[in-house]
Amino acid sequence: MAEEPIILFEHVNKTYKNGTIGLKDINLSIPKGQFLVVVGLSGAGKSTLLRTINRMHGITDGKLYVDGDEISQYKGKALRTLRRQIGMIFQNFNLVNRSSVQKNVLSGRVGYYPAWKSILGLFSKSDRDKAVRSLRRVNMLEKLYARADELSGGQQQRVAIARTLMQDPKIILADEPIASLDPKTTKTVMDTLKSLNQEDEMTVIVNLHSVSLAREYADRIIGLRAGEVVYDQMIENVKEADLNQIYQTEEDS
């Protein structure tokens, strides 16, 4: 396993404007190529943690390094360049329903084009081929010209993964990617993420509710509670009882 951290949190805090604490003194070193699963109750800060990495959420203080660069103050072009190297997958897929699968997938590449070119749809031949390859990778090529809202949830999530592949990401952030899917499509999506991790050596960070899935796919599991890291173990050291404790609420104990 590679040892150089691709993501490094140093004393990261995030407090929302209304005073709610999002993250509390997060210290995490995520090595390149790791498959990291974040577990915790709803509202524990899993989504916030994920979104600080591509700066969809800012942090209040602390330092956050991605690939060696401190990114917490990035703006404008630097921020867009950071984001285009980080793929993101969402619980609700976030495809544009009324657009074709092809257009949705190509939209993953717009970070590499000036605004006027992407608006006129002037994608290069190699990027159009790349869209075809990305869809083939997730077994969705036959739907190239279908409208996104004609697809089932599992199919939409695979298209969303194809969109992410267009970015050539080094890191993939997946925010509860299977929460709206049935067990069978869950496996397809998780297997795809695992293959991106193992074959393409992408660093994958997934938020999950399911402890059993976490154990099945993760290299490492961290647990969050009330914005704090309360658990951090490599998979070979993870014990069932520890995980159940993460999900314990104050009322239970």
Binding site: R83, R84, M88, R98, V110, A115, Q167
Partner: protein, 265 residues
Amino acid sequence: MENSQKIPSRSFAQRWHIKPILGTVIMVILLVFSSQMADVNVGMFFANLSQFTDLLVRMSNPTWSYLSIIWQPLYETIQMAILGTTIGTIFAVPFSLLAASNLVHNGIIRNVIRIILDLVRTLPDLLLAAIFVAIFGIGSTAGVVTLAIFSFGMISKLFYEVIETIDMGPIEALESVGARKLTVIWYAVIPQILNQFISYFLYTLEINVRASTVLGYIGAGGIGVFLQRSLNEFNYGATAVIILATLIIVLVIDGISNHLRRILL
């Protein structure tokens, strides 16, 4: 938790339906007062009904030959409406994007834009037409400018309200791939609202076709100019033709637009 859940009791106001009753009473009082203040006399309407029937009798003999003369101004009326609506819409798009609270987080910009739009909407179209007839002279230019401003105010509001109801997920996705604001709007906002935009455009066009017949009456071009002339000359046969032709045109335009909007939504 113990299982001691009871049905919560309703408040006094809820039990006796205070709000709807009070609302109705206030409404009735307002109606009675305003009709007294404005000196509206319902009796007068019935007393003068004979004049109305008299006018109808005189108009019951349409001079059909007049149709060949009003063909051109009718056509002009429709052109005015299309031109005015289109120009207004072109200006409305950027303003509506800037007025939408889910796209522009800067409250100052948003509120300045909204105040401008509110001001534009408070100007009555007849007043605008009167001003532009004074500036551009009698003719369709004044009508087009009036309709453009009127459409701008109306469409901007309809558009930004549509924008505020869109699904924010795709916007988040496009931002996460490193897209610029303009690209985000093009890829994630426009596809979600395009059909409703076209529908509102057609709706405004319908209104403008009707409005432009009235605007012509004060000299802003189109069929209204001829309507006013025929009435001044007591040429009621011609008036009847104009009214009938306008009615048919408006019905046809409404029909087409309603049909298209049904398909779109």
